[in-house]
Symmetry: C2
Subunit: 157 residues, 2 copies
Amino acid sequence: MNALTAPRRYFEDLAVGETVALGSVTVTREMIFEWAREFDPLPFHLDEEAARKSLLGGLASSGWQTGALTLRMLGDRFLNGIASAGGLGFSDLKWKRPCMANDTISATGTIASLRRSAHHPDRGIMVVDLVVINQKGEEVMTMSLANLVEARAERGA
Amino acid sequence: MNALTAPRRYFEDLAVGETVALGSVTVTREMIFEWAREFDPLPFHLDEEAARKSLLGGLASSGWQTGALTLRMLGDRFLNGIASAGGLGFSDLKWKRPCMANDTISATGTIASLRRSAHHPDRGIMVVDLVVINQKGEEVMTMSLANLVEARAERGA
């Protein structure tokens, strides 16, 4: 059963306060270098000596990479099981401390709000608060995602 | 001359209102599939038939991919030429319309604010407003990035 055939939850099936553990990922040196070469070729993401001399104090992932890894976890553990119709945007993303090479980051998502679209009653807007911590339990990143979710009632399902 | 040896601008050298054209990139089907497989494996980013049936109406990039491509342009055209010390976060990211396969997106960055750090006078916080448009001039994404920049005065340079 794949994502196209699995039973999916719709807007009406979601509740504010639902919390989902999104799993974890270890961020290796190689992942950091590979990302930096393609998307964020700043010295302190590409060169360990430059990284040590930087404010980060060592090799750390690009913040956008930390976000991409988090959203992959969100997709796998949550969005792919609901009738997600795409992201609208983010608010208040904070990189609270660096994700250093070989850190293991874990994420949790909590449904913060659910609002039926005024213009499109066949869908709603879900806000998910995401918290990412490292293996010491320290917060690495927080952000809130606004995501469209299809509603069941208007689809005759 | 590379990023480690090029003359760099410091916090004092920046001014609110400075606008930088960040160039453009064409987002191909292959780029969309490659990203989606690694970071956002939702049906409407991986399957053209599912994409046509989705609210997006066709194959479109993951919003986080649009952001990654924009930040690459920001690095190449701007951050790599200043004493950027890393991102703090961003606010108000909005995906205003999808970036469809084969769209060419262009970005512009404008320095919206500059504030010396109260706790660390050797650095300051720069907020850059980013606007991404497609080849029709329609807004695809907007976001504001808060970024640390090293100051010259406190470094004896």
